[in-house]
Amino acid sequence: MTREELQAALTELQSSLTFEEGGEWLNINAPAENFHELALKLRHTSGLDFDYLFCQTCVDWKTHLTMVYHLTSMTHRHNIVVKIKLDRNNPEVTTVCDIWRTAEFHEREVYELFGVNFLNHPDLRKLILPDDWIGYPLRKDYDDPVNMIKL
Amino acid sequence: MFSLSHITDLVNAWLYQQFPPTLALLLQFVIVGILVITLFSILGLVLIMMERRVAAWMQLRLGPNRVGPRGMFQTVADTVKLIMKEGMTPNGADKLMFNLAPYIVMMVSMVIMAPLMFADGFQIWDINIGVFFITAISSVSVIGILMAGWASNNKYSLLGAMRSGAQIVSYELSAGLSIITIVILTGSLQVSEIIAAQQTGWWIFKGHIPVLISFVIFIIAVTAETNRAPFDLAEAESELTAGFHTEYSGMKFALFFLAEYVNIFVVCAIGATLFLGGWMPFHIGSWESFNHIMDYIPSSVWFFGKTFFLIFVIMWFRWTFPRLRIDQLLNLEWKYLLPISMFNLILVTLMAIMGWHF
């Protein structure tokens, strides 16, 4: 599907979506509430079939966090980027690891590096950092005088 | 012709002349013990060196070439290193079992040497159930490995030992069955008689296809029994780091290592004795002059030549094949080797009864 068709199809799916101009692929801003429903629709609506979550990450904008989901469809070869704005003090979003299994590890990574809490995640533990680590290293205000080398 | 039996007879006569019979016998025990230990250490050094060279040459490498001329003393240097290392015992280990295990493994491989005939008339103990003795004793070595694995208090060791137990117990069967084929053909369990029966030709040539089959099965089974690749599941470096001897260090590890190589020597010597005629020279029917030349080669050279050829074959396996999985290993034994050797046994029996061999 082309960008315009995708935009139309997605608006039909959920009217509360807003779209960003520019960018290589269609960027969608979705609300954090009911994200799981949207994700299910994205995955299973025929014609969309976003079955491949190839990148999932988070960006710290100092005022808020943004979850970024890069989705593609293995059958139709179209891509979208879904962004969810999260409250920085209490970031919470429903997990998508029951829809895309790869999200399990990616969400664990985001959980420990950004402190985003994924609701209903089956196994939300630290993956990379030691279990007793305090703080979220990839946040912009993170400071660790011991382990960080400033050039 | 030069023969070792003269020397042994001379020593024997001299001892009985000088000392009372009991003391003479005891002195003979001591001499034999020293000889076996010497042979043991020499074999360890030579075989480990050989393994390294074979491995290196098959792997496009040069092998050890720094210590001594052409790297000959590399194993000596390694032994010195291992002796000087601290022999650690893990904290939760069963101390007695842990320390005993390498010696049991070692002793087993020493005892099996007793009925081997190293040359014409050069034998420690010509027991009349020689072959049976060997199969009986060699199955004790699994106890040492199980002890080592269990006492180490390490999960890798435990898994390795359990694998090794399953493996050795299974492969003993087909090794035994293939030995029995020769026993049937010879009609004796005595090692000297088995060799004497091959005066007219080695069993591998005289026995047609059935003996060839049992020879192949024997080689496979002993490779498995000595925990060599492709059946090195007890060690399985990429799976269990070092298997049953993960926790061993220093000299205790060296004993395991040495025992493995001596075991290889022993099983290959048995193979050479049973199938390749032991110290018997290679003869071809009525080529008298050729047979005479062959006779001039000392019998010990024949024996060691054959043994080392088999050892080389086993090393060749190790550096070529990937490792089997544990269930495949047992499948191979129970679904392929055992039925084939059972069937083969019937064939051999038939052959022996009908006298179809040469």
Binding site: T57, V59, D131 | Q59, F321, R323
Partner: protein
């Protein structure tokens, strides 16, 4: 982790494979729960070689951050660098000269070959065959020599720069590459003789570790791992970059999804890579090797994503730029990370030996997973 141990059933054995273990090719830590020899559960614990490259890149300029990516997947360092250079070029809309494109593609394919050779040897070592490792290194040595001569280093080359390549190829380059292709074509049959046809190897591989197509997609697998399950995901074919759309090569696909399929796919990919190099090596056009770029690169405000096919799969770079000289946020989508997440699913119910073999066929490079 301790709760996990407590919750396992009576009689289960929990074993730590790693962080130092011959099978993990680095410092991966797997906690496996065993029932006898059968694996019930595999739980990767990562981070032993985590260097926080993503955070580091936030303080490096767009010229500087390329060299760091060599250290991620060190076996396809060229391709990682290439991806980063491509991202900068895409954001700044730089057209790179065709000579640079040709050389880049040749370098990529040589890297892929070297990586697959090392994988072949290492995987053979995982299943207990030690000789293939040396055979693989014999051929790989030729590639690293070529790399050393042209790029100046053997492993972490840093040869790609935004706008082209750092310097021109060595005068002997074409000759040596042709020599290598000729040599490797004659030697690749040995790989089959020694391993592929071997009955023990086939029994160890066939029907083991089956990853279905649906699972491969769901787990985000890419590269040969996914292609062995029938997922068409070759970035070179689907989203062609540089001159891949003008080249004749096949996307290697298998449908079985087992270890043997993954093995075969990589082996055939080696042939394909050689074909690609042969198409290019005689036709490198003359001309510039670098496009004109500014001394200080500033990416426009926005978000950029580039993907590139490394030897292990799809490598993605996601950059959020605030318009400055350094990235605001950078995320590397490493193929190994997603492939590793499928490990637990594939391995369950297999024996320990199979687990090691499956890990070998997944071709994990731990710094790539940990970043």
């Amino acid at each position: 982790m301790f709760e996990e141990v407590a919750s396992t059933e009576q009689g289960d054995l929990v074993i730590n494979i790693g962080p130092q273990h011959p099978a993990t090719h680095g410092v991966l830590h797997l906690v496996i729960t065993l029932n006898g020899e059968t694996v019930k559960k595999v739980e990767p614990h990562l981070g032993y070689i985590h260097r926080s490259i993503e955070k580091m890149c936030e303080s490096l300029s767009y010229r500087q951050f390329i060299y760091v990516t060599s250290r991620m997947d060190y076996l396809s360092s060229h391709i990682n660098n290439h991806g980063c250079a491509m991202l900068v070029e895409k954001a700044l809309q730089i057209e790179i000269p065709s000579r640079a494109q040709y050389i880049r593609v040749i370098m990529d394919e040589l890297t892929r070959l070297a990586s697959h050779q090392l994988w072949w040897g290492a995987m053979a070592m995982d299943i207990g065959a030690l000789t293939p490792f040396f055979l693989a290194f014999r051929e790989r040595e030729m590639i690293t020599d070529i790399m050393e001569e042209t790029c100046g280093a053997r492993l972490t080359m840093n040869y790609m720069v935004p706008g082209g390549i750092m310097y021109d190829i060595h005068p002997d380059f074409c000759k040596k590459v042709k020599e290598f292709i000729k040599h490797f074509r004659s030697k690749i049959d040995e790989y089959d003789e020694l391993l592929t046809g071997n009955i023990i190897f086939q029994n160890r591989m066939k029907g083991i570790g089956i990853l279905s197509k649906e699972d491969a997609i769901s787990y985000g697998c890419s590269g040969p791992t996914a292609r062995a399950s029938g997922v068409s995901c070759d970035v070179r074919k689907i989203y062609p970059y540089e001159i891949y759309d003008q080249l004749k090569f096949d996307e290697v696909l298998a449908t079985e999804g087992d270890s043997f399929a993954r093995y075969q796919v990589r082996l055939v990919e080696m042939h394909q890579s050689m074909n690609i190099i042969e198409q290019l090596i005689d036709n490198i056009p003359e001309g510039e090797i670098q496009a004109k770029t500014k001394a200080v690169l500033k990416l426009p405000k926005g978000e950029f994503y580039t993907r590139i096919e490394t030897a292990r799969g799809e490598f993605g770079i996601y950059v959020v730029s605030e318009g400055g000289t350094t990235p605001y946020r950078i995320k590397f989508r490493s193929p190994g990370f997603s492939n590793l997440s499928a490990l637990d699913h594939i391995v369950r119910g297999h024996k320990i030996g199979d687990m090691v073999a499956i890990m070998g066929t997944l071709d994990l490079v731990i710094p790539d997973i940990d970043r």
